[in-house]
Symmetry: C2
Subunit: 253 residues, 2 copies
């Protein structure tokens, strides 16, 4: 197989596949330095042009930003391979030009280059144009993860959307907290046990039952005090206000 991309997802997936014994033939990325680095890591070749990729491979896995996916497909060399992408929101690719067999290989996780993750628990969501392709992608996913599922494009979009909420938005909340605590000379590390427990709690308890805090208790005195403390942080304040009101309406509305 060959990989297109050298970003966070391309890197994490390539390393996991390579470790499980999959042979990665070539890597292409418009960022040649990144492609070179990744190729070294996974004992592969790097290629300087999309059209220069070897056509004789079982699978082209496109792990680029979403908006590049279509562009990449049209610039691949003429081939009989499976063409799959790793995007959560991009539909299954039906390219009538070269490809009959297409698929999706979407790993549901947040990847950062310098932090290797254990792939075994990471859900990999598979979709394919046909039964054989599905089988092959499923098998590939199984080689790195114990958590492989089949989802259609619409389901995958919804899953991706909720992943944005529980990861990207939660991380923005961490960010606001970090900045505010730094200003007050308070160590952000004090929040870590709470952050961990917040994440672990919903393994045992439904999120609706796990809700606590001033808004859950409709404690407007505390909420107003917090909003005052945020007077110099209008962005954090806007989030505080919107989310508190939603919690109050949900439980007391």
């Amino acid at each position: 197989m060959s990989i297109i991309g050298s970003g966070n997802v391309a890197t994490a997936v390539s390393i996991a596949l390579s470790k499980s014994g999959i042979n990665i033939l070539e890597i292409f990325s418009p960022n040649i330095n990144n492609a070179k680095l990744l190729a070294e890591k996974v004992n592969s070749r790097y290629v300087k042009e999309l059209g220069g990729l070897c056509a004789d491979t079982d699978l082209f896995l496109i792990a680029t930003p979403d908006k590049e996916v279509n562009n990449v497909i049209h610039k691949l060399p003429q081939n009989q391979s499976i063409v799959a992408h790793t995007s959560g929101s991009h539909a299954l690719v039906h390219s009538g030009i070269n490809q009959q067999r297409s698929g999706v290989f979407y790993p549901l996780q947040t990847f950062t280059k310098d932090k290797e993750v254990d792939f075994k628990e990471i859900p990999v969501c598979i979709e394919a144009s046909d039964e054989n392709t599905s089988k092959l992608l499923f098998q590939l996913a199984k080689s790195i993860s114990n958590n492989v599922v089949t989802l259609n494009s619409e389901q995958r979009q919804y899953l991706h959307l909720t992943a944005v909420a529980v990861n990207n938005f939660t991380n923005l909340l961490y960010n606001h907290a970090f900045t505010l605590l730094k200003e007050q000379n308070i160590d952000f590390a004090l929040l870590r046990p709470l952050i961990r427990e917040t994440a672990l709690k919903i393994t045992d308890i439904n999120p609706a039952d796990a809700q606590t805090g001033p808004a859950r208790r409709n404690d407007t005195q505390t909420i107003n005090k917090h909003l005052e403390l945020l007077d110099k942080h209008p962005k954090f304040k806007e989030i505080y206000s919107l989310l508190s009101n939603q919690i109050i309406k949900k439980y007391h509305g």
Copy 2:
């Protein structure tokens, strides 16, 4: 010592203290059934009236909703004890009537009655009216936690505010995700590895560097697609829109 309250915090703190060998003399709560249950758990007596609490105790620990704290203090029997509360946002109590020695014993965690937590890592934030009281509360906290810090009232308020953000607001995001996935027949459990990694990632990486996702990449195509998918979920949509815009402005503004 005696405990006033029988809610989530009162229960968790009482159980941890009792397990560490601290003798809990009496429990009072307006909810007599809860008080009775808790008293049984920690091998204590329960009392039906605040004024009926025995005055001869080293410490009254008030673990009630914030708005009840002042009320409770004024109804305690005449005493020479330390009076402390567990509130994140309530200032240090300076009651000139009976109490010279007052304090704060604020455990920074989300507590739910049916889920026992390991107290050792939970930060306990101490504040006191005087050196001796501080020492005693510090010692008490140390008996259940390895993470005891001294914070003044203002710092504690800010810490509490950020705790609301990283716990209560994050949990609301889980809630929206849960509801949406249920509608689409997708198992919420698929999100758990991502949720865990989101929480663990910021142990190694600053939240600003941990940010990923469509808004971080300024991928308006995906963001607009997600907003469309949320047309029937205006509350989730409002959060999605506000937080995505903040991330875009932060990284691309």
